[in-house]
């Protein structure tokens, strides 16, 4: 018990260290550049304590729950030997975690606003909602597909750089023909898709698969799933824009 407390304390200290840069930056800009007093000092102190404890608990739970479940499922699928079930799982994981992602919902709403004011869609609430939903499902489908491609790559041992390179070429080509109002949103949608819980889970899944399959190196083959998940949404959102216009 005592030892566990010690471990927790050390994790807490680590979280404080992780947070120190933010505090320094904000303090510097508040006092030295903007030269203003700190508003609601007590509130901020409480909030900071929350952030430190939250980060500590998160990392603690990560190694206890998220990493082991990702790896054990990857091993179970590898033992079962059914590729189609594994790919179905990969798609569900990608699609299911993205479609409900709060930051994606926010970005989709914002994008619907842009489109309505740009005259792409009519300025009614209904058409905006259907546009935002279409965008969300497009991105979720793209992420599901990305995880499927990534898992297939791990199974077959394809080198990652050629697939990513092909993706880049596709993005560049599509940028030339896609309508200009979709480009900024498309590029951003690649970054917002991967949430804080999805990333550890997907990473553990990839590493677990690569270590369960003979002849795969977990370092070379295990990583890369998230890279696909942030590339395919760019392509699919541009397609969505082209279909609409």
């Amino acid at each position: 018990m005592n030892q566990q407390f010690f471990v927790f304390l050390r994790a807490l200290l680590g979280s404080c260290k992780d947070l120190l840069p933010i505090i320094l930056v904000i303090a510097f800009f508040q006092f030295a550049v903007l030269q203003q007093p700190m508003p609601n000092f007590g509130d901020i102190l409480v909030g900071l304590a929350f952030v430190v404890f939250g980060l500590t608990f998160f990392i603690y739970g990560l190694e206890m729950g998220l990493f082991p479940i990702g790896e054990s499922m990857a091993q179970a699928f590898a033992k079962k030997g059914s590729i189609s079930w594994l790919l179905t799982f990969a798609f569900c994981l990608g699609f299911g975690t993205t479609v409900a992602e709060p930051s994606l919902i926010a970005v989709a709403k914002e994008a619907a606003n842009v489109a309505a004011s740009g005259g792409i869609i009519s300025d009614t609430l209904e058409s905006q909602l259907s546009y935002a939903n279409g965008l969300r499902f497009t991105v979720a489908f793209a992420v599901g597909l990305a995880i499927v491609i990534g898992v297939l790559r791990i199974i077959r041992g394809w080198p990652i750089q050629y697939i990513i390179l092909g993706g880049y070429i596709l993005v560049v080509l599509m940028t030339m023909i896609a309508p200009s109002w979709i480009i900024g949103i498309a590029y951003d949608s690649g970054g917002v898709t991967t949430s804080t819980i999805t990333v550890p889970l997907v990473t553990a899944l990839g590493v677990g698969l690569a270590s369960a399959i003979k002849g795969r190196n977990p370092m070379i083959d295990g990583f890369g799933l998230i890279a696909f998940a942030s590339l395919t949404p760019i392509i699919f959102v541009m397609i969505y824009g082209m279909v609409l216009s």
């Binding site: 800009f29 508040q30 550049v33 739970g61 729950g65 179970a76 370092m219």
Partner: protein
Amino acid sequence: MNLIVEFLTTLKNTVVDVLPIISIILGFQLLVIRQPIPHIKQVGFGFIYVLIGLALFLLGLEKALFPLGKMMAVQLTAPEFIHAGEHILTSIHWSDYIWIYIFAASIGFSTTIAEPSLIAVAIKAEEVSGGAINANSLRISVAIGVAFGIALGSYRIVVGHPIHYYIISGYVVVVIQTFFCPKLIVPLAYDSGGVTTSTVTVPLVAALGLGLASTIPGRSPLIDGFGLIAFASLFPIIAVMAYAQLTQAKERQVKRKGDKIKRKKVNKRKFTHKKLALLESSKKNR
């Protein structure tokens, strides 16, 4: 009391967000794999810790960091701050916004260091590589990439260049680097682009982009406000590969030095051999 209610609301939202993931895992585990989850108690507690941790983290950010960061972004982009003393706005020059670039870089760096999903990937990478990749060095290189990316992205908003020229040149750099950097780091580097932008970075960076685009004359917040996140997810790839290249170059240098020392030792030994031989022969001659 109010705080507890807020915490519970955040916790409820987090649980709702995580529900699809949990149901997919449970569904496949029970229906397809048909085996009990190993160490179910530990995993369950782990999930509960993750949920509580995330809820606390989000609430803390909402209470302390986001309002302050967003306010700063607005204040730093306000015309009164940038054109202090000048009353007539004739033209904008990119160098007027020097504090913005510094703020963008430092907020990008510091938020990336605290990004939970990057911490997760860094821990995994250190574990898998057997310590060859240091978690902290990886995080610092990613943070440097984000810092540079966001600063450059703000510069782009100020000068109003189209985004795709920057992104496409970034891609070209990534492709060239891929051919020259150690193969082991490539997938990890690609991944690090996607993990940087989540809970902490996105809201602050979005506020900065929106503030910039709405205060600079001639920029539309709807078009130019987007795009900072794209910068933040491209440059870490370059930074991580550059870090691997630097480490490799250093290792080579050390190795070369080691070889030189070895060669010197060998030379010395040869020399002593020769000496011995000479001594022997001179002895014989005598």
